[in-house]
Amino acid sequence: MQNQLLDIPQENQLSRKLRRTIAWNVVTSIVRQSRFRFGLVLVLSLIFWAAVFCLFYDAFNFIDSMHAEVMSLLFNTFFSALMVMMAFSTGILMYGGLYRSEESSFLLTCPLRAEAIHAHKFTEALWFSSWGFILLGSPMLIAYGIVRDAPWSFFIMLIPFIVTFVVIPASIGSILCMLVVAGLPRLRLHALSISLAIAATGILWVSWATFGAVQSQLLTAAWFEETLSRLAMTEQVFLPSWWLSSGLLDAALRGESRDLTRQSTLEALKFLGLILANALLLSLVASWVARWTYRKGYSNLQAEVPIRRHRRLFWLDELLARAGSRVGNPIRLLLVKDLQIFRRDITQWSQFVIFFGLLGLYFYNLRSFNYTHVYASLIGHLNLAVVGLILSTFTTRFVFPSISLEGRRFWILGLLPIHRDQIVWSKFLFSFVGGLVPCLGLILLSDCMLGLPWGTVFVHLTCCLALCGGLSGIAVGMGASMPNFRESSPAKIAAGFGGTLSLVLSAMFIILIVITVGFTNHFNLFQQTVGQLSGTTTSWLPGISGGQVVSILIVIPGGLLATFLPLVLGIRAFRQLEP
């Protein structure tokens, strides 16, 4: 049989059909097998969307009087930051998709053009890197349109504006990725690190220049004016972010007459055309770069000689392995093993560093603001919740699947002279100690920056201890009760029914602790609020010290229960398991 090559439209059609079929199969299998998770994700997404919408609606109403200058600056800052982030994220996704994925290896052996393979992976990367923008940007822009009483054409134009805009930074990221791989294959990690370092330095400099050098007193009108004037650097006419914000602002303008409204809409369409033209141009450039560099770059990367690292025993591992027998020897050795795996898995510890690092940065900057005591206490309390929620995402994402991931290696553990209980306890200790150290440090930092009294700090640290124990207990216990030994991807394990349930229970535990401690530590505030509402003074609740004692008395048993109940149930289930 004489086979024939596909032409360009046919290749695009093939790629679209493939994605459509996969998407349909994904949706139907989710609806069939993971209705709980699907429903939960949908409901939480809708709640999140609604909450963001309400937040922006209130904010835009608040600043409506200062609208023209402020909105332009805010939009420009938001979209320019988004542009930089999207360029990096798409570049990284394209590197993985084009050069490190099994699919690309398969497609490169098929009679497809390099540009077609690039386009296929680019579409995928575009979806992944822009969904956050869509989730965050759509409620913001819709709220803005409603507050400004924008004409109906504004809401129609939102989708083409967003879709065409995201292509620009994504194309830039993809082009840079391919050029770096083709031109500097050995130095690609260095190029990425240097780029990230430059971007981070730039962001820090801009942040300091904007917020740090402000002369006026904080949170005054003059301070706002001064800060906003420093954001004017994002209003550059050659930036796509400026085209987007200008286009949206024009599209939302409702003039005094129909003609004026029509004129503004036409102005907006001009910017839309500009964005579209540049998006198409950059897509074309990306396609050319793919044609000339993709196969060569892929081949060069394949030919890279891996750097053989002679790994000696790290001093910490050696210390732990030889440490005294307070922790049993098998548990100690399992801890060392898990620590080595954690250290060598960049996916895990980099996310850990990023999230907790950002929290640390935020907490460190709390000292810049002046608070009343009550306000500071509330913020400190909310920071406790934030730390707990971040920790729960890590325990769900990495700790819950840890027992399941032993699945393929279970035959090794099964043959060793260790009890199954010891495997579960080692996972718990690893999670508990690993989470406790950074969380205690963060809470201490937050409370010190807020200038909270030591009584409150002690309560917060105790809560942190309870949260770390409880979240670790829930994740490990449920992971032992509902392991999935067939799956090798931790993301898929965490996304299953057990992982979702673990996340929900973790969130409920955090909310329970936070609400309880929040109520008991803010009796005075509660009394004042109730008094104002009812017109009477209430004095039946104890004061601050009493509240702190009550907090401790509730948190400690609650934390112990959340820690040991799921662990005991998990150990029992794990003992009887046949992998």
Partner: protein, 252 residues
């Protein structure tokens, strides 16, 4: 037909494939043997277009893989050692995708898909998502996809891994039938018995060099021992080559 003309591939300072010149005509099943790290996988990756040769030319049915990549791929079928399937496609959908990729007309593609499903006995799971397949099922589906467009050249990398005896027999019979029809088969394998049973010619590669090229009787002549098994002959060639290399590096 496959042609290697002074094909070379280096990884940094290491030469993975050194000056390989080899022609495999139509209708021949060629088996490439060699120890781990010999350069077999590199040779196959160059042959299917994943790696570019550092020097020399590789042609498939007259098409240079470097300058006429797509045209060469049109004549190629490839079964890798670790088959890739789209987890969220069924077997049937995957075969449909392959048929569309090779622009097989709609009226023919259904017939060909049915043929391959029957041939490789995929009926039971053709409509299930590939994520639920065992290794053997995946391998059979990949074979079906490789044969779907009736390639002129078939490249196999450890093809029998994961296949049960019945499937192995199906593949062997099919390869014999296809080579008789003129298909060129290039197979890399560690299974000496299979190479001896199936191959018209074989090559033994050691540290990037093709140390031997010919039939089993020619190999016996080459090693000058008539009574040993293929395994003994193979070990003789590979260990003596490795030993000479080690001796010379020790001397330096």
């Amino acid at each position: 037909m496959i042609q290697f003309e002074h094909a070379t591939r280096t990884y940094g300072s290491k030469v993975a494939v050194s000056d390989l010149s080899l022609t495999i005509p139509s209708g021949e099943l060629f088996a490439l043997l060699g120890p781990n790290g010999a350069g077999k996988t590199t040779t196959i990756k160059m042959l299917v277009g994943l790696l570019r040769p550092s020097g020399g030319v590789i042609r498939v049915c007259g098409h240079d893989l470097l300058t006429e990549t797509r045209s060469a791929h049109l004549h190629l079928g490839y079964v890798p050692d670790e088959p890739y399937l789209y987890d969220k496609l069924t077997g049937h959908e995957f075969l449909r995708f392959i048929a569309d990729m090779y622009r097989i007309p709609r009226e023919l593609s259904q017939e060909y898909i049915k043929r391959e499903i029957n041939r490789f006995e995929l009926h039971e799971f053709a409509n299930e998502l590939a994520e639920n397949y065992s290794l053997g099922m995946r391998q059979r589906l990949v074979f079906a996809a490789a044969f779907l467009h009736d390639p002129d050249v078939l490249v196999l990398d450890e093809p029998m891994v994961g296949l049960d005896p019945r499937s192995v027999r199906i593949v062997k019979d099919l390869l014999k039938e296809k080579t008789a029809d003129g298909m060129t088969v290039f197979m890399s394998t560690h299974t000496l018995a299979m190479a001896e049973e199936m191959a018209d010619r074989m090559g033994i590669m050691v540290q990037g060099d093709l140390k031997f090229l010919g039939t089993v009787p020619e190999l016996r002549e080459h090693v000058d021992v008539k009574t040993r098994s293929l395994e003994d002959l193979y070990l003789e060639i590979t260990s003596s080559s490795t030993g000479r290399q080690k001796a010379s590096s020790d001397d330096t």
